[in-house]
């Protein structure tokens, strides 16, 4: 382990970014964690002050700082609302990488990231096996939500109500695709993302159905890996680099006008973090830039490019929409998914605080389930209060979290991706 002076030196690199925070405290108004705890260490200003304290060697407890740094959803709400324009997400991700470099990766994360994610074949094989045996360990809770819970006392699962692994992953249903542009004259690359592949293949299928309907050609290479955000948010930049590498090498084999995904987190990761955080082989830099520029959320593509328009209300089913942080805060996409819900003929019923985080935050949900549950519980209350029949969103991670929360509250409704609603209407 390096000494603390060295650590301080590493944090000094963030100095130019850290000084941008004028300590106005306005982030207290928007941070979901601060809303719960009221603790300054849980809000951006406090976290930035801690990093600054490490950099200036005023603090002697990097472990304590690391622990506080990890109590964060990386939802980006603070950054989107910071009057001083501080690049909070960038600072936090870099800080996590420095911390991981200093403390090393936990054995569990090492096994998951370096052993599994980095090795998509093994990851796929294991989850397939998991899908076969999961019935032994889990029992159904709610058929409409498709949620289950642990049959036995299982530490990681706890009392979560989760969506089980799909019996047949998406890559087994459609291994790869390379179809020419149809009536639209456009061809898109489709990046699936691991949650759709393993848990929600029906959403990936809906995306293909919609693209076909609109005469859009699809390039979908086999051998896609995770986008890398779980590794990056744990500070594991090595795994991140190699995942970006695997993906870029697959995608640069084909030609396409846009790259679409149905996962808000994947979209923002490819668009913003790949070009910015990738430190691997520079021969990929150009393609990473091109892919990033071409990347779009599926609703954004349908509305902005294909000009899909909302329908006049036809008395369809009532739907409420949750804005995933990674679409709203980092890309400002809020109108297009709503337009797609209306294009599907649904009756959009806005919930209170549609734009606040659902509390999932990737591995935050695992490390801080109680906090995650409290934030998600409020989201679920707002969803239920909207009196809609369907809770729709644009991110599979949000779908998992919202399903867990609604299921635990015994809500009588289903959780869908907006694209499923649209595909059903075609």
């Amino acid at each position: 382990m390096a000494d603390i002076h060295k650590l301080a030196q590493m944090f000094k690199e963030l100095d130019d970014q850290l000084v941008g925070c004028m300590r106005c405290g306005m982030c207290q108004a928007v941070c979901p964690i601060f809303k719960l705890s009221g603790k300054e260490t849980d809000v951006t200003r406090g976290k930035l002050a801690l990093l600054d304290g490490l950099a200036s060697e005023m603090l002697t407890d990097p472990e304590g700082v690391n622990e506080k740094l990890n109590r964060c959803l990386l939802c980006g709400t603070c950054q989107a609302n910071c009057p001083s324009g501080v690049s909070v997400m960038d600072i936090f991700l870099k800080a996590r990488a420095i911390m991981t470099g200093y403390f090393g990766l936990s054995p569990a994360k090492k096994a998951i990231f370096r052993g599994l994610l980095k090795n998509p074949k093994l990851f796929n094989a294991l989850t397939e096996m998991g899908a076969k045996f999961q019935g032994v360990f889990t029992k159904k809770v709610d058929d409409m939500l498709g949620s289950s819970c642990a049959r036995f006392n299982a530490p990681v699962i706890g009392d979560r109500h989760f969506n089980t692994l799909a019996s047949k992953p998406f890559r087994k249903i459609v291994p790869e695709l390379d179809t020419p542009a149809g009536s639209s004259g456009l061809r898109v690359a489709f990046y699936v993302g691991c949650v759709f592949d393993k848990i929600y293949p029906q959403v990936a299928e809906a995306i293909l159905k919609v693209l076909k309907h609109h005469g859009v050609g699809v390039f979908m290479p086999a051998g896609q890996a995770c986008c890398g955000i779980p590794a990056l948010s744990s500070g594991d930049t090595d795994t991140f680099d190699s995942l970006v590498g695997i993906n870029v090498d697959q995608f640069r084999k084909g030609e396409f006008d846009y790259l679409v995904t149905g996962c808000a987190s994947c979209t923002s990761t490819i668009k913003e973090l790949w070009p910015h955080m990738y430190k691997g082989d520079t021969s990929r830099t150009y393609d990473i830039g091109v892919m990033a520029r071409k990347t779009m959320d599926i609703s954004q593509f349908l509305v902005d490019i294909l000009k899909v328009e909302p329908k006049e209300l036809t008395g369809g089913q009532s739907v409420t929409y949750h804005d995933p942080c990674h679409l709203k805060n980092s890309m400002g996409i809020t109108a297009q998914p709503r337009a797609i819900i209306k294009a599907a003929g649904c009756d959009l019923k806005e919930m209170t605080d549609a734009g606040t985080c659902c509390g999932c935050g990737g591995s935050f949900n695992i490390a801080h389930y109680e906090l995650s549950k409290e934030i998600g519980g409020r989201k679920a209350d707002n969803i239920i209060a909207s009196k809609a029949k369907v809770a729709a969103t644009s991110c599979p991670a949000c779908m998992l979290q919202i399903t867990d929360m609604l299921s635990q509250k015994g809500a009588d409704m289903s959780v869908k991706h907006v694209i499923e609603l649209y595909a059903d209407s075609l």
Binding site: D16, V19, G20, M22, R23, C24, G25, M26, Q28, A29, G38, K39, E40, T41, G46, A49, L50, G53, M58, L59, T60, D61, G64, V65, E67, K68, P83, S84, G85
Partner: protein, 461 residues
Amino acid sequence: MTKEAIIKEFENIAGAENVMTGETDRHAYSYDAAVLDSVMPALVVRPQTSEALGAITKLCNDNGLPLTVRGAGTNLSGGTIPHPGGVVVLTNGLNRILEINEEDMYAVVEPGVVTAQFAAEVAKRGLFYPPDPGSQAVSTLGGNVAENAGGLRGLKYGVTKDYVMGMDFWDVNGELVKSGSRTVKCVTGYNLAGLMVASEGTLGVFDKIILKLVPPAQAAKSMMAVFPSMKAASETVASIIANKIVPATLEMMDNFTIRTVENFRGAGLPVDAAALLLIEVDGHPAQVEDEAAVVERICKENGATELKVAKDAAERDAVWQARRDALPALANLKPTCVLEDATVPRSKIPAMIEALEEIAKKLDLTIGTFGHAGDGNLHPTILTDKRDKAEWERVEKGIDMIFDKALSMGGTLSGEHGIGLAKSKYMAQETSKATLAYARRMKSVLDPKGILNPDKIIGAE
């Protein structure tokens, strides 16, 4: 008592989960929004009941521990930077609105209630709480009272002190002192609640606060006027008031700020304009029409080259967005942003602006100025990088010069941001030696051990 024993006492009073002694927690309460060096407290405690707040105050006094109350920590004068080795008491666990009385138009709140949340609850009941500091989304009512915070509506509706009807506060011995009442009129005893306003935590620890509410205006009209010189703009301000019109809001921006805001948002502000006035009149619909017409005429008579009246809510919002953007836009330019608060009589605004320009030129500093023209409260904002030692020395000199100037014009050190640590050294200059001595004598009797937010306002002796 040993340190461990004292910590145990705090835990007995507030619950172990509400007492923080770790390095990271203490570091996170070592600063506020002022550009000053941070100071670590020895302990941070977050009481959940008013009894606990009182007991904590007594415990601190019994042990001679310096005590700094902290609301949201957004003050701009170092008011919540703790004394070395002292205790920080957080009020955000005391955030209940205890009563909103529609009939008698008042509310009773705990000190940690967030200003904007309170205003929204009041509005839901068809009433209005006017004080709206720029930080209202996070600032607390206790902090507002302790700083006598003001906002955009200060000109017509006054500032926080105009809404404090009464208060319960804890004295250093942990005894509850009551002052004021729920009645509009009350002259029972000394106006101790009034004494607490702007006391910045140096005289007592606020518990429940009784706040006045008013009926909301039925209509409002906003406009933006463009001027070829600061002089023309400030003469317009004087003329509007001379015509017996008191706008709800009357804000000013200088050319540097206009350009910066335009770069920031691109909302189509006139970048060539020397000055902008943003004006809102409100009240009865007929009166609003009348007053808007007069304001329009006055602006034109004083040489406004352009006048835009907002036609609907969206346009009205665009006018105020420009004003809300002023600080963030300036803050984006440079790492450090020193937001000053010099206030002069309205008629002196042009002279003050001129002086600010001179100071900027002389010391080679970047200063953008905007502010509440209607009440003479200017916010010259110095943009710098604190790490640049040479420049920072010039900034400190510039601040001295700004206050010298403001005071020489019959102005004041602070229109709304408070004195805290940042400006205590100028206190005698604005008031008098005797004033400072009087304040110190009063403080020494009320707080003999000097534990209540030491060094703030009246400085270290």
